[in-house]
């Protein structure tokens, strides 16, 4: 009964979305305020029904209603409650419903928070948002119905893939989807602007918080996914350049570019056409990501079940969405008025360079991901693209970008003096040289490239901090003045400093763990010790465990350095009862300078156990840096200047704008 209610709810949501995608558009054309206002109501109705459907499916999972195909195939009555709930989106149909729910939430949020948007713009944005909803609801209802019933329900379900039964992965998809789908708002704004034929600073100010929200969640989602891969797959790696990872990384790169170019539109009314194109491309890449994971187009470790019929459907959906928007772009973009001009060396120039480098980096990832497909289509046979490709293409593009991260914010708008700016970074430069020498000393002259890489990270961090110190006149004014200046810094400035620092820290972690990772595989009998990178791991033996829905073997290692006790590691090897699938649960002892990582494998004939030990230097810095970036996004979002609804902030902003216009005129 409840499942039928859910089925009914998604059909109602589809009807609401269809009305929402047509009527406000007509209203905006005829300036009919009632039709335009309908967009807001419809988006709330749509949200209500999608939420109801999602609730119905969740209920079916919680009570283990195996009369539903979806539940029977992906759940089991002995599964812990957390994984019963996360199982809702651990499969194709349910995750599609989550996708649509988030889309509806964003649509309703635009309706609710966009009270002072120009009415025609708001109506058009909501209509475009609803069109995306129509596409995906149709897809859900006709090819991937989560509420399909089984004629002969089984006694119990087939359980969720054990690899996905993990707290990290329970929250990874929702965060990732908020990121992917959040870019739909920027997309809808871009399409609405193309229809209106008008892009201005106000438009950019409305787009930025939405892009920032999406970017923040996407950053968190990717970081969570890589953290999960690190501790759950038991290979000690955190990024594999797997197609599924790449498709989440590409919208991130483009979204980062969009975040920066929108600043130029907002402050200088320039780069408008480019920003529109970026908004379209960012969401298009999110869509392509969703498509690739579900169509079976490319092989990957973690894609959903393959169904060619679905693939064709979603491909046509994409062709309409992306092809349609780019056609509109081709016709309307040339007529958008160009904005203020600037010299190549200026804040605008710096942000443009940032955009070009990020887009090029994104293009290399795109090429690497799809190259095997292109080769195959041209009769070149099947090929695989591994990390060496990305090391040779992606990394060289990122190096200049990372070097310039701390230079850009120091450049003034319109025209800058590069020598003067670099002069302001001289202390950061000196400190960077010291940091390189220190790294050289600590690593005993380890790989030169890695040491230089650490230098880049140090330069980024120190340069960013020195720009911050510059802003609050640290050490150049009395401390009380600096303090006053510091607490008056707007949230978005804090956000910038924190995000760039986070990036620097993450990059340092990535370089260190790639360059100085040590790993060893051995067969150990209880009581034996293996020494890896100066640390001793004594294997104390194994014992058997019984979990709620699995059985496990747990090994115990005592970790010590020079006879001094450090930690006890208890890696597990689990066998899940239903799917008969073994998983490894790595045991990790994390410290500031690195992780001690142990995995237990199979028993060999003579009574020994295969064990794998990894020493991962500074690996946690990666996720610490990502956490800082997420915090930075939230801080920026809290900045009242971004909240268009805040009247005081807006008045101030208008004043500032008038002033800047006067200055520009003078």
């Amino acid at each position: 009964m409840i499942a039928e209610l859910g089925q009914f709810a998604i059909i109602m949501a589809l009807l609401a979305a269809i009305a929402q995608s047509i009527l406000p558009l007509i209203g905006a054309e005829r300036l009919d305020s009632r039709l335009m206002a309908f967009g807001s109501q419809a988006s709330l109705i749509q949200l209500l029904f999608v939420f109801l459907a999602f609730g119905c499916l969740t209920q079916a999972y919680i009570v283990s209603d195996f009369t539903l195909v979806n539940v029977a195939e992906n759940s089991h009555s002995t599964k812990p409650l957390l994984y019963k709930i996360s199982g809702v989106w651990g499969n194709h149909e349910g995750s599609m419903l989550l996708w649509i729910l988030i889309l509806a939430v964003f649509g309703a949020a635009v309706a609710a928070f966009g009270r002072n948007l120009p009415v025609t713009l708001k109506a058009r944005v909501l209509a475009v948002q609803a069109m995306i909803g129509v596409g995906f609801l149709t897809f859900l209802i006709f090819t991937s119905n989560p509420f399909a019933r089984l004629l002969l329900p089984p006694e119990n379900g087939r359980d969720l893939n054990p690899l996905l039964q993990d707290p990290g992965l329970a929250f990874h998809p929702p965060m990732l989807y908020v990121g992917y789908v959040g870019f739909s708002v920027a997309f809808s704004f871009a399409i609405a602007a193309l229809i209106e034929g008008k892009v201005d600073a106000a438009w950019a100010r409305w787009v930025r918080p939405w892009t920032l929200t999406a970017w923040t969640f996407l950053t968190g989602g990717i970081a969570l996914g890589s953290w999960w891969a690190y501790y759950e797959l038991g290979w000690g790696g955190w990024w594999f350049w797997d197609p599924v990872e790449n498709v989440s990384f590409m919208p991130w790169l483009m979204g980062t570019a969009l975040l920066h170019s929108a600043i130029v539109v907002e402050k200088r009314n320039s780069l408008k056409v480019w920003t529109i194109l970026l908004a379209i491309l960012t969401f298009s890449l999110s869509l392509i990501g969703t498509f690739i994971v579900r169509s079976g187009l490319l092989t990957s470790v973690h894609s959903f079940a393959v169904n060619p019929e679905r693939g064709i459907f979603i491909l046509f959906l994409l062709a309409i969405a992306i092809g349609g928007s780019l056609t509109l772009f081709a016709f309307r973009a040339p007529s958008l008025k160009a904005g203020g001009i600037f010299s190549p060396i200026s804040r605008e120039g710096g942000l443009l360079l940032n955009n070009l480098l990020l887009s090029t980096a994104c293009a290399t990832v795109f090429l690497g991901t799809l190259y095997p497909l292109f080769m195959e289509a041209l009769g070149g046979g099947r090929v695989s693209i591994g990390p060496p490709f990305y090391n040779n293409t992606f990394v060289p593009v990122m190096v200049p970008l990372l070097l310039l991260v701390c230079v850009g914010p120091l450049l003034p708008w319109k025209r800058a003096d590069l020598i003067g700016v670099l002069g302001r970074l001289k202390y950061a430069g000196l400190a960077t040289i010291l940091a390189i020498l220190l790294a050289w000393y600590v690593t005993e002259g380890g790989p030169l490239l890695a040491i230089l890489g650490l230098g880049i990270a140090a330069w980024m961090l120190l340069g960013t901090l020195s720009e911050w110190a510059d802003k609050i006149k640290l050490f150049r004014a009395p401390l009380s003045t600096s303090w006053q200046r510091m607490i008056k810094l707007p949230g978005s400035t804090w956000g910038m400093t924190l995000a760039h620092s986070g990036l620097a820290i993450a990059v340092a972690g990535m370089i260190s763990t790639s360059a100085w990772k040590v790993e060893d595989v051995a067969v150990l009998k209880p009581g034996e010790t293996i020494s890896v990178a100066g640390t001793d791991y004594r294997f104390d033996g194994v014992r058997e465990l019984v979990g709620p829905n699995y059985q496990a073997v747990e090994g115990t290692f005592t970790v010590s350095q020079n006879g001094e006790f450090m930690a006890v590691l208890k890696p597990e090897k689990r066998l899940y009862n239903v799917q008969k699938m073994p998983t490894t649960e790595a045991a990790i002892y994390s410290t500031f300078v690195g992780d001690y990582y142990a995995v237990i494998g199979d028993q060999v004939e003579d009574g020994g156990w295969t064990v794998r030990i990894y020493r991962e230097p500074m690996v946690t810095w990666i996720w610490f840096g990502c956490t800082l970036m997420v915090l930075a996004g939230l801080l920026s979002l809290a900045d009242r200047r971004l909240r268009v609804g805040a009247p005081a902030g807006k008045r101030k902003q208008e004043k500032r704008e008038q002033k800047s216009q006067r200055n520009a005129a003078a």
Partner: protein, 185 residues
């Protein structure tokens, strides 16, 4: 360039891209997860690979598959490939058996890297052939590393496993096939 053409460029690129997607989805029988099964039950291709110097095992060529009347497991591996390390303990187990051959093809690797990798993790292979330009790999239809083939004593490919041997694959897939083939003999 004419400005109008510039603005249609994103659209044109997208259309070409979607052409590829459409081709890939509609091509009959294309499933990236299943190997192109053309090689199954066909004789293994001709090849002759040089040995990895200083490793202490000889190189690997087509004739080695048929000379000693044993079933061969051919594993494609590389030092840069993380999943290869994950399945390495399984290779070690296979390498200890003397009723089968375990041969390695070192795929797109530098000799020094490969040698270090094998010295560190143990060399389970009875023969290792170097395939630095992936010429032989292409003949074998390799499109991802690692891959594992089972070849019978007449040199016919009987099974192909794409990707690493996940826990359980050795016991549930590889060993039963080897047992089966041995029983058939």
């Amino acid at each position: 360039m004419n400005k109008k053409i510039l603005f249609t460029l994103p659209l044109l690129i997208t259309l070409v891209l979607f052409g590829y997607f459409f081709w890939a989805l509609t091509k009959p029988g294309r499933d990236p997860k299943i190997l192109p099964s053309v090689l199954i039950d066909k004789p293994a291709p001709e090849f002759n690979l040089t040995a990895l110097e200083n490793l202490g095992v000889p190189g690997f060529s087509r004739t080695d598959l048929t000379t000693n009347g044993k079933i061969s497991v051919v594993n494609i591996f590389a030092s840069w490939c993380v999943p290869c390390l994950a399945e390495h303990p399984d290779m070690v187990k296979l390498g200890k058996r003397d009723d089968i051959n375990l041969y390695g093809i070192n795929y797109r690797d530098k000799p020094d890297d490969a040698l270090n990798w094998l010295n560190r993790n143990g060399n389970p292979y009875h023969r290792v052939g170097r395939d630095p330009k992936s010429r032989t790999g292409i003949e074998w239809g390799v499109y991802g590393v690692p891959e594992t083939f089972i070849v019978d004593a007449t040199g016919t490919i009987r099974y192909k496993h794409v990707g690493p041997l996940n826990p359980g694959d050795l016991e549930n897939k590889i060993l039963p096939i080897i047992d089966n083939l041995q029983a058939q003999k």
